[in-house]
Each structure stands twice: as structure tokens, then as C-alpha cells.
């Protein structure tokens, strides 16, 4: 009977790449991880790791083992969720991550709703970019994630994740308010925004990738002068007449700002969804959080 704790180390190694990261994630010393994996290797009698530079690489046998282990860990988590669900209703801790605009617009209300309905449920909230959040969710460092999905943009797919749509929100171009002077006042469509500076999120985010794509389709390569993942800053830069930016309705829920909005071709909408691991999707904590979000967030964000 193989030791699941050791198997887990192997699975974490497959997911994280280096032995040191595994140790860090599990709050152990790298030495310990190395010893345990060595022990596992001795038990199965087949080499699991090969040296690859200064890192280690999984052998084919190890890959097979990891495949099974992922299933086992999911099942183990499901077992734990199922049995605690039977015991006490809606208690324990749920680790939630949301992206910035949701965090600012709706989470305070959702948290208030939750603590009122389920006083014994502890929600740990962190703000995280959707890609990072989904990754951490798969690694079991989070339990529930609110993420976004841009149209025609291949969403990263993780095995064992359960996704549910939460709402959709319109994407528009935000330009400085009327009478800001040129060149702002003459912008009437996305195609006009090739001559002005942009505020965008950093490269690697879905938002950045998507809006750049839209700009290229409109016939220009955007000049990204301000780069920050703080969308509050984007709004501020637009309001003060320094840049144009992509703006979603979710932002406008908080900022009834004076920026001027310009429709994008095709009136595109972004999908906002919640994701959790399938293994714990039916646990009371997750269900409670999801329904709290559903109550607080309008199912169709259509601002005037």
C-alpha cells in the first residue's frame, strides 16, 4: 500500500516543477521532500526522478503515478467534504479569490450577506488575477474563485474544475469626458484610438490579450503608456485626460464617473464565472458562497 502523503509530494512536484517549491508550498524543508520521494522510489522499485540540470524531471512511471494520485486526492477531498457536510451545516473555512473589480464592487455586500446567514462560516478572501486564481485553485490553495472569460479567448482549462456562470458585463472603450480637448474629443470609435495613449493591464492577462487583439482588428497597434493591474488607476487616468482604457460595467458599478463611453464593434460582453474543484463543489460552504454571490450580483449587468 503506497503512502498517499508521499504520492502527494510527487503530484505537487509535477504541478509545481521544482522540489523547492513543493517544500515551500507544504511548509517543509526541501531536504524532507527529497527524502520522502526517495523513499517512495524505493517502495515502488522504479526510478521516478531523473536529474535534469539542477532540477529534477519526472520519469514516465512517475507520470503514471501522478495521474492516479490526482484522482486519489480529488476523491479524498470529496470524502472530507461529504462527511463534514453531514456533520455540521455550513461551517468551516472557505478560501475565496476574486479579481479586482468584483472585489471592490460586490464582495463587501456578499460577505455581509454570508456572515449574517452563516455565522459559523469563515471566509478568507484574497484578490488575485483570474489566471493565477484558477491555477491556485487547481493546486488546492483556494476553494472558490471568481474569474472572467473574454469572448473568443481560449480560457485556460484545468482538470477537475467546476465552473458556473455568474453574470456577463458589457465591455466599452472609456475616453476622457467631453471638452477635454484634442485629441480626446474627436474619438468616436475604437479605430480612432490608435493615435492616443492607452492604459492597460500587464502582459499575460486575458484582458490585455483581448483588447490588443481588438485594436489590431481595428487597424492599429495600441501605444501602451500606462501599465498596471489596478483598474482603479485606469479609470483615474481616463478621467484626468491621460489615456483611454477598456472599461467593463463591473467597474462602473462603483464609479459613476464622468468618462465618456464608446461602444466596441459587436457590443462584446465578458463572462464572469465562479469556479471550484469538482470534489468540493457540493460542500455547504461552497454552495453558500455561490448563492450569496448570485444574490448580490445582478444576473445581467446592463447599465444605461
Amino acid at each position: 500500500m503506497l503512502d498517499v502523503r508521499r504520492l502527494r509530494l510527487l503530484a505537487e512536484l509535477a504541478a509545481r516543477g521544482t522540489l523547492a517549491e513543493v517544500a515551500e508550498a507544504l511548509h517543509q524543508s526541501p531536504s524532507s521532500v527529497s527524502q520522502q520521494l526517495g523513499q517512495l522510489e524505493r517502495e515502488v522499485g522504479v526510478p521516478l526522478l531523473r536529474k535534469a540540470g539542477r532540477r529534477v524531471q519526472l520519469t514516465a512511471a512517475a507520470e503514471v503515478l501522478v495521474e492516479h494520485t490526482v484522482e486519489i486526492l480529488a476523491r479524498l477531498e470529496a470524502a472530507e467534504a461529504a462527511v463534514t457536510a453531514l456533520g455540521d451545516d455550513t461551517a468551516g473555512t472557505v478560501r475565496v479569490a476574486v479579481f479586482q473589480s468584483v472585489a471592490l464592487a460586490y464582495m463587501p455586500q456578499a460577505l455581509a450577506d454570508l456572515t449574517q446567514r452563516h455565522p459559523r462560516l469563515r471566509v478568507m478572501l484574497s484578490q488575485r488575477a483570474p489566471e493565477q486564481a484558477l491555477h491556485d485553485l487547481a493546486l488546492r490553495e483556494l476553494d472558490l474563485v471568481v474569474a472572467e472569460h473574454y469572448p473568443d479567448h481560449g480560457a485556460p482549462h484545468f482538470d477537475g474544475l467546476d465552473r458556473q456562470p455568474l453574470t456577463t458585463d458589457r465591455l466599452r472603450l472609456a475616453v476622457p469626458p467631453r471638452s477635454s480637448g484634442e485629441p480626446w474629443d474627436s474619438i468616436t470609435s475604437l479605430a480612432d484610438a490608435g493615435r492616443v495613449p492607452w492604459a492597460m493591464e500587464p502582459p499575460g492577462t486575458a484582458s490585455r490579450h483581448w483588447i490588443e487583439e481588438q485594436c489590431r482588428r481595428a487597424g492599429f497597434e495600441p501605444e501602451v503608456r500606462y501599465e498596471t493591474d489596478d483598474v482603479e488607476a485606469h479609470v483615474a487616468l481616463v478621467e484626468t485626460g491621460n489615456a483611454v482604457a477598456l472599461l467593463s460595467d463591473l467597474m462602473r458599478v462603483r464609479h459613476r464617473t464622468a468618462v465618456r463611453l464608446i461602444e466596441l464593434p459587436g457590443a462584446p460582453r465578458r463572462t464572469v464565472f465562479t469556479a471550484t474543484r469538482t470534489a468540493i463543489a457540493d460542500s455547504p460552504g461552497i454552495l453558500a458562497c455561490r448563492s450569496a454571490l448570485a444574490r448580490v450580483v445582478p444576473s445581467d449587468l446592463e447599465l444605461p
Copy 2:
């Protein structure tokens, strides 16, 4: 993350009934099992055991947990089998149990075949009644079982078991040889055997159940004077003119005896099959054993 070793104790408890038996099976002291289960209970925060007389009973929560655990253990075993299969071909140990007539008739040849083809494969052979063997197989105390299935007899069903037919053999009534005197010489059908003593296997076996059923259908309740699970003894008792008995072709492979054979109504055949756990069904050791049996045992036992 629940400890799988502790979960296993719970699963074994569900399968075996008492904590002492679990301890015995796992070569531990009952005290240790009790402590570990207590720890598990503390971890999940839900009562798992309730006192039922001097034994313990599983709560609903524990049953749920066991359900998941069985899956996890199967997967764990499959993982181990898969990875050792990748490593070395057909080595290790396979624990096989067969019932008596197969043990005597074919296993010597099968073992010779196996040791020649796979010198590094170690086969541990034990003789066991089919019902007991299948039970022990499900409990992971055996890896491969050769068992029998009587027609129209509800075979005991165990989850996670993989069954493959091996052969079938004719069932006949064996009576003492001609010129043994009365009442033997006048027996020409099963219905005539109501007046003579029988040799049968002990109650609780499928064989016993089946032949008693046949007797009742033929209109009589058999007088079981000799009761033993040693079918060799059955043959001896018939040969010496002391009883009649059920005899399968599998027995006759060894004993070209002088007993007289009488067809039973409907010329019934017994099915002989191999069984293993699904989790290890694809492991090289199991495959090797099964194909050795298939080579050695004729696919259709039809003796003149």
C-alpha cells in the same frame, strides 16, 4: 487532508465487523486501531462509531466515508499495479486461491508453466472454498481466485471484482460401479437416489445448495450421511459402495475411476471462472496467471 491509513482502518472495520478482527488482519493491536479511529473521528469532527453492545457500529457519516475510501483504496492499488507493470515485466508475488478439484487437476501443470515462462514471478497458492476465496479476494488478502458457478444459482456479488470464464464442466451423479449389489445397481436416474445415502459438501457451499435443490425437484430430500468438503473423499465413498455423490468432469480428469455415471435432468454444466480485483486486473502477474490457466485448462471439458 485525511489520513488514508486511518480511513483504511474504517473501511476494514466496515468489512469485518469488529475492531479486534481488523487489528488481527492488519497485524496490529486492537488498542492501536482504536486510537487511530479516535484520531480520525477527531479530525473529521463528526462521530464515526457508536457503541453497540460490546462492539461498535458505524454511523451514517462513517458509511459515507467508507464508500469513498473503498474507491480510494482501489485506485491506490491500481496505481501501484500500473507503475510496477511499467518497471519490470511480470515479477512480484501473486496470491492465488483455487478450489479443490482445480487444485488437484490442473494447478501443478499451471505452476510449472508459469515458473518456466516467468521465473521471477512468485505464486502463492492456497486451496479455499469459492465463497471464502471471493470474500478474501475482496478484502485484498488474495489476488486471483478460481471459483465455480452453479447454474441458476445466484453468485455472490462483490464490487470491484473482475470475472472471466475459464471453462465449463458437466455435472453428473456418481453411483457405485456395476455389480455392487442393491440398492445401488437399480439406480438409473436422480429420482432413484432418494433411497440411498449421500456424500455431500458441508452446508453453506454452493455445491451443497445446488444438489439439494436438484434432489428436491426430483421429489425427495437427500439423506446426507457423509459430509466433507474433500471431494476426493466423495469419490472414495462412491467407489467403495457407501454413497452416491455429485461428480464434475473436473474431478474425473484425475480419477479415471470405475464409478458409474448417471446424467442429471437437463445435462447441467457448472461454470468455472477466474476472478481478481479490477484494480489489478491488468497487472502482468495477473495476466500471466490467467493465461497460464487458460493454456492448461481445456476451454470445454467434455469427457466421454
